[in-house]
Symmetry: D2
Subunit: 117 residues, 4 copies
């Protein structure tokens, strides 16, 4: 089975051409709308935080909303990671060889970053 | 020394009148612009995440940016908490009595929420 | 390829017969001595904490050692998880079918517990 | 009010004389037995982990117990921190001056370490 390999595109990021990995089918492709909906809600939470600070709201109440936004971001991360394991990593494992090991190592590093952040 | 007590206002939140605590001098009052700057940057990071998902960027690259936004939110939380301890809690402790104990307990709960999120 | 399925044994745990999953080859089988060495060191850290408390050592110094022990436990968790993905989950993915999905879901739940603890 | 200042003792740590802060009254002095009880239970959890690994128990079951031990360590940290805020930091705040600022900064750093571990 063919592993989805990222294509390398040159796309302008902030006016500067930069190499980025764009994929035909990232792990989250079937959940894209759900992920975007979560991210828009988190953007709303962060704008809500700015309003709270602007209104001199009580520190502890602001902190509670920061914790809520942090948890929401962690949930997005867990969803992306699950999709990645179930698709990108699983496909690489079925293909076997170096690609399998590389994808497993990369996933482990992402999990470590997540646990420590 | 007078403890800064939050005033209770009725302000409309999402169309519903809701009691919120607004303070003349929240702990972060002197850092307000710095906090807002951080929050605006985090809002930009979350919008950047939506662009990445829209462009089918590679899962691991998206995850890395989610971790960065999470760490940025935690830094805001730590700043708010420090300001809260150094002002609101410190003022209550100097005044003593029940207010001091209440503020210390409230801060402890906020720290626990932060550690567990 | 055969997936390593856990055998169900009845072993006495604290005097009560309890079903536990023992495996011929858990994911960490090749790293067993390394894992045990880390766990013995953590046990030593926790005993060191008891000594510090017994000696009335300064709160912040005790807290620093608690953070060190927590990070050490997280490192063990990450190692166990990596071994689990690279062996148990990878084997199930190669076999395919329901077992693959079950193992991926189970791993996702373990990652979520880890991120939130 | 007198702030509890740590005395500096020379005690042998691992055969080497090392300066350590021992206090007449650390913040946790009234909770010492409760803290020790929690630490002894965590030591038992870590020994239980070694038994599980020795018995080739299933990775996910071992991971669940690692998460439990991690959460237990975090609870000890939160208790130590609360006691520290309510006693050492509060006493320094009442005394005022540089000592107050130093203790608040030190507590903030400990909270940051905790949140990020």
């Amino acid at each position: 089975m063919a592993v989805a390999r990222p294509a390398i595109y040159l796309i302008p990021v902030g006016g500067i051409e930069r190499q980025v990995k764009k994929m035909a089918h990232p792990g989250y492709v079937d959940e894209k709308e759900a992920v975007q909906k979560r991210l828009r809600r988190i953007e709303g939470q962060v704008r809500g935080l700015q309003r709270m600070v602007d209104e001199d709201r009580y520190c502890i109440d602001v902190l509670e909303q920061v914790s809520a936004a942090t948890r929401a971001l962690q949930s997005v991360a867990l969803q992306l990671l699950n999709d990645h394991l179930a698709h990108c990593v699983a496909d690489a494992v079925k293909s076997g060889g170096d690609e399998a090991k590389a994808k497993l190592d990369e996933a482990s590093e992402a999990i470590a970053r997540l646990v420590r952040s």
